[in-house]
């Protein structure tokens, strides 16, 4: 192979790409930097770039009731992901390995539930959740987020399962392994990266969800997006604290997103693009 000669424009394009990448990332970087400032530095004009870094705002956030919101977010995102996988994996397995003439219809119905706006289901959810005692409960939110992530799990895992060589499953079946053994010992280990990406995406969506969280929780089960929205009126008073809280809320998600990068497009397009 002949190596391409470096064109004069290439260097310029590379520099432009770096510049744009930094510009796109800048708001996140600035938030993280502001989190390490004192409140006086955070709201100073012109902005302070060299400052004495302090952890005091992180400490202030942790001393407030931040941790209870974090705990709610972690339990609700984790619980709903586990529940969505428990319902979704068997369904995806069956749709991938035993397709029938109903498979396309089932798949499109599953996806159609994801296409309708959540706000269209909101009013009955408020009325019913209040009536049956699920309002402002972690369990109620786990149920909801599991249902909202189930289409993602079914579509994405079906697409990963369909990539596996069928012979492996046939061999395991002939050897007498039942569904649960095939799933746990053959199928899931082979599609582990896909499973990890699916779980991460489900965690991310649950972690960031706001509409249902703000309408269906108040004190007991409110999640981080609800807590953060409480900073909306802080006019230059608590910017460092706000940034510290934001940094702690967003950092786990960005790291999870980077970890799921390879299968991200597949997840976002429900397996249509690989």
């Amino acid at each position: 192979m002949i190596r391409a000669r470096i064109r004069p424009g290439t260097l310029g394009l590379n520099l432009l790409t770096y510049l744009i990448a930094l510009l796109v990332f800048f708001p996140i970087l600035w938030t993280v930097l502001t989190a390490f400032k004192t409140e006086a530095d955070a709201a100073s004009v012109p902005p302070v770039i060299w400052f004495h870094a302090t952890l005091s705002e992180f400490r202030a956030v942790l001393d407030s009731n931040y941790l209870s919101y974090f705990e709610n977010s972690a339990i609700i995102a984790g619980g709903s992901t586990v529940l969505a996988l428990a319902f979704g994996l068997p369904a995806a397995y069956s749709l991938a390995f035993n397709p029938s003439k109903y498979t396309p219809r089932v798949l499109s119905w599953v996806l159609s539930t994801k296409m309708l706006p959540a706000v269209g289901a909101l009013i009955p959810l408020i009325v019913i959740y209040k009536r049956v005692g699920l309002f402002d409960s972690r369990f109620g939110m786990i149920l909801l987020y599991a249902a909202f992530n189930l289409p993602l799990v079914i579509w994405m895992m079906r697409s990963f399962f369909a990539d596996l060589p069928r012979e492996v499953i046939e061999a395991a079946t002939v050897d007498g392994a039942g569904f649960f053994r095939i799933l746990a010992l053959v199928v899931l280990p082979l599609s582990a990266p896909g499973l990890a990406a699916t779980a991460l995406l489900s965690l991310i969506f649950s972690w960031n969800e706001f509409l249902l969280a703000v309408n269906l929780t108040s004190v007991n089960a409110a999640t981080l997006p609800v807590f953060i929205s409480g900073f909306m009126t802080s006019e230059g008073l608590f910017w460092a604290k706000m940034s510290a809280a934001s940094t702690m809320a967003v950092a786990p998600v960005i790291i999870a997103g980077w970890m799921a990068q390879r299968s991200l497009v597949r997840g976002l397009t429900f397996g249509a693009v690989k």
């Binding site: 319902f87 068997p90 296409m115 009325v127």
Partner: protein, 317 residues
């Protein structure tokens, strides 16, 4: 459907050892047992509320007024929303404007980003990682940070830059509320568009580009005649998925403008939220919900057709 390879055993196969799950041995029963719980759960949690929304939308029902009887009022709620309620009409208009602006803006930026990343250069992975990061930021953090650190009229970074280059101070969220919200949302959604379009760009075979070049196409002609047409399905997918999500824009508006000033940034989801949380009107907010569903259903139908086409080609390939 293509024919299965001859080595695959027939549909129902004899299995050894009976057990508690013996009923799973027929293929059809097994498939049903594996799929049914998921479908039942999904129907209960997502479809039942939609049906109830329709039911509520025909009723007069205000949560804070227990003395007003809950009665069947036919299409009165719909009639009011569509012909009399000025805010709902404004909300439809705002939603359309936001959706068009955000989908359009993020599509153009996303295509630019994707073209820049679709080359081999040092630190490509790092650049890509930095550029997708905004997509993972929760909408409330996005709004609270942009509203304060960036768009605050006195201490915000944007005005510092703006006045440094000689312009007058602007209260962005008060003077240009739509543009400000669009800016926040485009920052989040451009990476999403970029990812889908980048996948499309990487799927264009080098031979096709080479053939175009041999035929004398310059970079611009190649872009217009080769890249754009071959990206077609990816554009459709990106736009339709973007529409589905961006029609639901809520968190940014809740935090940054509360629908204001006036009703200038009130979207359909935000107005529904207001109708149920401040007016407590179950009937009216349900009617708005039904209209929002109809709105989205049209787009969803188009999207499903597209995704199923991709799915079928994948199965029969």
């Amino acid at each position: 459907m293509t024919a299965r390879p001859a080595t695959i055993p027939p549909r129902t196969i004899e299995l050894p050892a009976a057990g508690r799950f013996a009923f799973l041995r027929t293929q059809r029963a097994a498939s049903f047992a594996l799929i049914a719980p998921a479908l039942a759960f999904l129907a209960l949690m997502t479809q039942a509320p939609f049906v109830l929304t329709v039911w509520y939308s025909f009723r007069q029902w205000v949560l804070t007024e227990p003395d007003i009887p809950h009665k069947w009022v036919g299409f009165a709620n719909f009639k009011y929303e569509l012909t009399q309620d000025p805010i709902f009409r404004q909300a439809i208009y705002n939603t359309l404007e936001f959706t068009a602006g955000i989908v359009g803006g993020s599509l153009v930026l996303g295509l630019g980003f994707a073209l820049l990343l679709n080359r081999s250069f040092p630190l490509r992975g790092v650049a890509r990682a930095l550029m997708i990061a905004p997509f993972f930021v929760m909408p409330t953090v996005n709004a609270v940070v942009q509203k304060n650190l960036f768009l605050n009229p006195i201490f915000g970074l944007v005005n510092w830059v703006w006045t440094s280059i000689g312009f007058h101070r602007v209260d962005w969220l008060a003077v240009h509320p739509k543009l400000s919200i669009m800016g926040m949302a485009v920052w989040q959604w451009a990476p999403f568009m970029m990812l889908i379009l980048l996948a499309g760009l990487q799927g264009i075979p080098d031979e096709v580009r080479e053939a175009a070049r041999i035929d004398g196409a310059g970079p611009f002609t190649e872009f217009r005649r080769v890249t754009i047409p071959l990206l077609g399905p990816y554009f459709q997918l990106a736009v339709l998925l973007g529409l589905i999500y961006i029609l639901q824009l809520f968190g940014e508006i809740f935090v940054a403008t509360q629908g204001g000033p006036g009703t200038e940034t009130t979207t359909i989801p935000y107005y529904i939220y207001q109708t149920i949380s401040t007016a407590n009107d179950v009937g009216a907010s349900s009617a708005q919900g039904v209209l929002a569903i109809i709105f989205s259903a049209v787009i969803a139908t188009l999207l499903l057709r597209l995704l199923l086409r991709t799915f079928r080609t994948e199965v029969t390939a």
